[in-house]
Symmetry: D2
Subunit: 136 residues, 4 copies
């Protein structure tokens, strides 16, 4: 799936969050997804909530997998680890850069680094595993 196909997939499969997510970059190595937070994703103090960053990581890695194997809507997250390291800038977009570490027949593993624009500091980093359903 290329950039346009991934955008369409997000609009269809993640309708609830499609308005705040946009595909920023697609490469051989992975996908970078942008989250533009609204009031619903903020916590007191203006920072983006942990579950919103988790969602960004989860969708970014899902798209990185689909960009390689095509639209497998039934791939599911089997586990996730996330380290929250720095407070996001108040009210600024977040970029989740998903990189595939392994794309096996039944399991895919990747990491997602979340940053604000224009900074090398990683705000949060996730490692996630997806189960890929067998082909029929």
């Amino acid at each position: 799936m290329d950039h346009a196909a991934l955008e369409t997939f997000v609009a269809q499969e993640f309708a609830q969050v499609a308005d705040i997510l946009s595909v920023h970059a697609v490469s051989e190595a992975g996908v970078t997804l942008k989250l533009t937070p609204t009031q619903a994703h903020l916590r007191p103090g203006g920072t983006v909530s942990g579950p919103s960053m988790f969602m960004l990581a989860d969708v970014a890695l899902y798209l990185a997998i689909l960009s390689r194997i095509g639209p497998v809507a039934l791939a599911v997250t089997t586990n996730a680890h996330i380290d929250f390291m720095r407070k996001p800038a108040s009210d600024a977009p977040l970029y989740g850069e998903a990189t595939l570490l392994k794309l096996g027949r039944s399991l895919a593993v990747g990491q997602v680094a979340i940053r604000n624009a224009g900074s090398d500091d990683v705000l949060a980093q996730a490692s996630m595993t997806y189960a890929i359903p067998p082909k029929r």
Copy 2:
């Protein structure tokens, strides 16, 4: 903080999700939090999304910590691990049972088991660490 104080805290500090969360039980060991999903928390097929379960776990453990040390609004999640094991029942409430494993001066660690009502099957289980700011 007792049951009523925790309910008030959720309403104030988690205004965005307060309508779908309610404190189900408070004990010495921890807190059980109930999530009643709305359309915004579902994924295609009617199942509750991973990020929504992550949010349930995150808030449940936060409340379990506050129930012991009082309202420390600045405690922050430093890392989280979650295993997604079974598909939640379509459109049914989820219960996140948070148990504290360690309550230190600067770090608190706990686990959260997420289930549907009336079943022993754990749908997802999380381990999370919170940093507790030093007292002034």
Copy 3:
């Protein structure tokens, strides 16, 4: 596999660590494995090393899976999360209580709580996933 079969399996498959490991209890819910540390497993100060606790958790959960599905020597750990919460007693045996949370066809998930004898305090707790090879 029952208690005796598991002991035999450890002696054969984990020859390098069989002298410090012994099966303490086997039940429907899981397996408790005992580690008696030697000098090689200690760190300065007399405490048991993190990697030794990781090994205890890894083998305990492996045995818990085998106790249910029989000797599948090719099951492999796909990922593990471990929280180290308290310093083990110097030079005392550790007990790793492994509980299965899910035993699927291709993935098994469980948790292991590590304690010293006679204490409820969890020293370390692990969540681990094993991939189970398909039957031929």
Copy 4:
């Protein structure tokens, strides 16, 4: 601490494993540690055991922290996540490349990618948090 100081530290503080570990590279970004497995670190089939890879990651990140803040022998691992993705080459050295993601006053977070020589494939990747004791 520079390359030589780290080597000396390993010999003193990790006497049990010093013979199989050697500091391969030290840079601003982190430390790469080499593990030369012996029979004690192998599993049936000749592959390096999971706990041995965990140990490699744990020590590599510890050294990466010490290279920046000096010999703080009391820093402790508070939690670790590791994904095992590929089987290591039989009987070949492993390289654990530790990178610091955050070096705060009380917590340090980093990741470690484990590879065989001459391959970009990541065999296992770990994310770990260390607690740094307050200065007196």
